[in-house]
């Protein structure tokens, strides 16, 4: 009843091509964004900002970047942690070495560094495909791990690769309290999500999906695989690099290479797959799932009043995490985004069965 499109006729192609052509969708999204900006700062606790909301936002952004590469362009990458690291350390170097460098510029330049390296590591994708490419991307991951540990220049000569930043502000407004950090990240996420959505529904997005679905046919209709794949790597690494900068500067404050290890890469890949490949919204769903799951698993024994020793608790978390991943993949291999889409289809017909 609520969700019917009756009466919503489009009279121009532009109207039909909007991101949310159905009025109800538009209203819900606007309400959600307004809620996130205006209401949440007053409703959530400091703990939730620090432990749930801000990490969720930043990891959604990283998952978004990864989804562009894996979900839309079909190139598997297991080296996302490396690009986050490059974005983080790149931004760090610009921030620390260039006097008066504004925060946002540093973060974007960090993203730029990640883009350059991303394109470089994208070159193998022109020859190598599938699982071979996936494992080859690990070369980027481990090389970067080593580079930030051993090459002193990157970390301003810190001995263990660990660095820190302080005094973050934008045009004089400090980014220090959890609420300020949350709003800063939220702004980044909203802008990047919009830009990414425009890209994937435009010409380049179709080129990416064509390469993903059948690259020989794509070449025959005039798409250049080189351009499509390298732009996918470039855009993806840029977004992931900025997310890495946010993670380091805003969420962690001080960090070392281990923050961007191969576990982070796997975590992001889980988010993208469970959330839904080839779906902007899916990146958010997946990030929410992966961020909330360990917190829930940790909190459950306490909730039920069962005392478990920490070692056992961590083993159980591993087990339940693994089991849930497998379960989810069996039940809905196309991710939460597909479940969501199916739910909406049903809602459009409700209360009629078909």
């Amino acid at each position: 009843m609520i969700y019917r499109e009756n009466g919503q006729f489009k009279t121009s192609y532009r109207a039909d091509q909007q991101i949310f052509p159905i009025l109800q969708d538009k209203l819900v999204i606007l309400a959600l964004v307004a809620f996130a900006f205006l209401a949440v700062p007053f409703l959530a606790s400091e703990y939730s900002f620090r432990a749930i909301l801000t990490p969720f936002l930043i990891l959604s952004l990283a998952a978004l970047g990864l989804n562009v590469l894996v979900g839309y362009c079909g190139q598997i990458s297991l080296g996302t942690g490396a690009f986050m690291a490059i974005g983080a350390y790149g931004a760090y170097n610009f921030f620390v070495r260039v006097p008066g460098m504004p925060l946002i510029a540093a973060l974007l330049l960090g993203g730029g560094c990640a883009t350059v390296v991303g394109v470089l590591f994208g070159i193998p994708s022109l020859r190598i495909k599938g699982l071979y490419l996936a494992v080859a991307t690990l070369a980027a991951q481990f090389f970067t791990d080593w580079a930030f540990l051993r090459i002193k220049w990157f970390t301003n000569d810190s001995s263990s690769g660990s660095v820190s930043v302080a005094g973050l502000n934008v045009l004089g407004m400090p980014i220090e309290t959890p609420v300020q950090k949350y709003l800063f990240c939220l702004a980044f996420v909203c802008i990047f999500a919009l830009l990414a959505k425009n890209l994937v529904r435009g010409n380049i997005g179709r080129e990416w999906m064509a390469i993903r679905d059948m690259d020989v046919a794509a070449a025959v209709i005039g798409i250049r695989p080189v351009y499509a794949k390298l732009t996918a790597f470039a855009v993806s690494s840029f977004i992931v690099g900025v997310a890495g900068g946010l993670w380091a500067f805003v969420h962690l404050g001080s960090w070392e290479p281990a923050a961007f290890s191969v576990d982070r890469s796997f975590q992001l890949l889980f988010m993208v797959i469970i959330g839904g490949l080839g779906s902007i919204a899916g990146s958010f769903f997946g990030a929410a799932f992966i961020v909330l799951l360990p917190i829930l698993l940790d909190a459950l024994p306490a909730y039920f009043g069962i005392p478990i020793d920490t070692a056992l608790a961590s083993h159980l978390t591993f087990m339940i995490f693994g089991a849930l991943i497998v379960f989810f993949l069996i039940v809905e291999p196309h991710g939460i985004a597909r479940l969501w889409a199916t739910g909406r289809e049903k809602l459009r017909l409700w209360p009629f069965p078909h």
């Binding site: 020859r127 190598i128 699982l131 494992v135 070369a139 791990d145 051993r150 797959i273 995490f321 693994g322």
Partner: protein, 309 residues
Amino acid sequence: MGFFLETLFGGLMAGMLYSLIALGFVLIYKASGVFNFAQGAMVLFAALAMARFAEWFPKWFGFDNHWLAIGLAFAGAMLVMIAVAYIIERLVLSKLVNQEGITLLMATLGISYFMEGFGQTLFGSDIYKIDIGMPKDPIFVFDKVFEGGVLINKEDLYAALIAAALVVVLSIFFQKTATGRALRAVADDHQAAQSIGIPLNRIWVIVWSVAGFAALVAGMIWGSKLGVQFSLAQVALKALPVVILGGLTSVPGAIIGGLIIGVGEKLSEVYIGPMLGGGIEIWFAYVLALLVLLVRPQGLFGEKIIDRV
């Protein structure tokens, strides 16, 4: 020169151990098209089982003979791995039959998380010893040719021999037995194999069990050398570049890839490492594999992927 040879031998033997783990990957990929990220967790799980059984069986069954304990522990661990193979096939593989590769890959990652947690819950998370009587002392060879001789670690030598024996056993299994033939048929074409009556599900259980066997042998050797601990699961990450260097579908590729990576790592660490600040073995294997793939995208011995339109 003697030093070079030492490094070379050391590399070859480390390489054999990588090949052992890589074999498990290749076996499963060949027969079920699944890239088993859980292979490392399987190595850890098998090694844990064997280590603890070797401790527990004497206590439970009241005997004292060390070799009997080891033998029974090996057998017990093997049974455990067969059970693992069966459960994975029933609960995971058969439900994900037609999904894309990346979904199966993620599922095996999920399995690996589960097994790491479960193994440590069942068997404990300390460092355990496996004592299979490997000699820990080195021997010196070629001492007539080179002054002082070339140092070879006896344990590594025995490990390499065991690995070689395993490869021979597996090759005979694949070439000469009916089950081996069935496995090769399934690897070539699932549907054709089914159409001549080969039961796909049972084949998968067998393949995962054989991979479990390879994991057990690898775990036993690595565990004897390093002690059985959580980090053993990470050693599988070392085997990945071996697999792709050799080609995902090639057993000889796994062996030769392992040797190349083993030698390359050792040589580069000794000769190139100091120039770059050390610690390059964390990425050398991967970069080497990447460079080879750029020239041969399907690995050294892998099947060429031809797209037909």
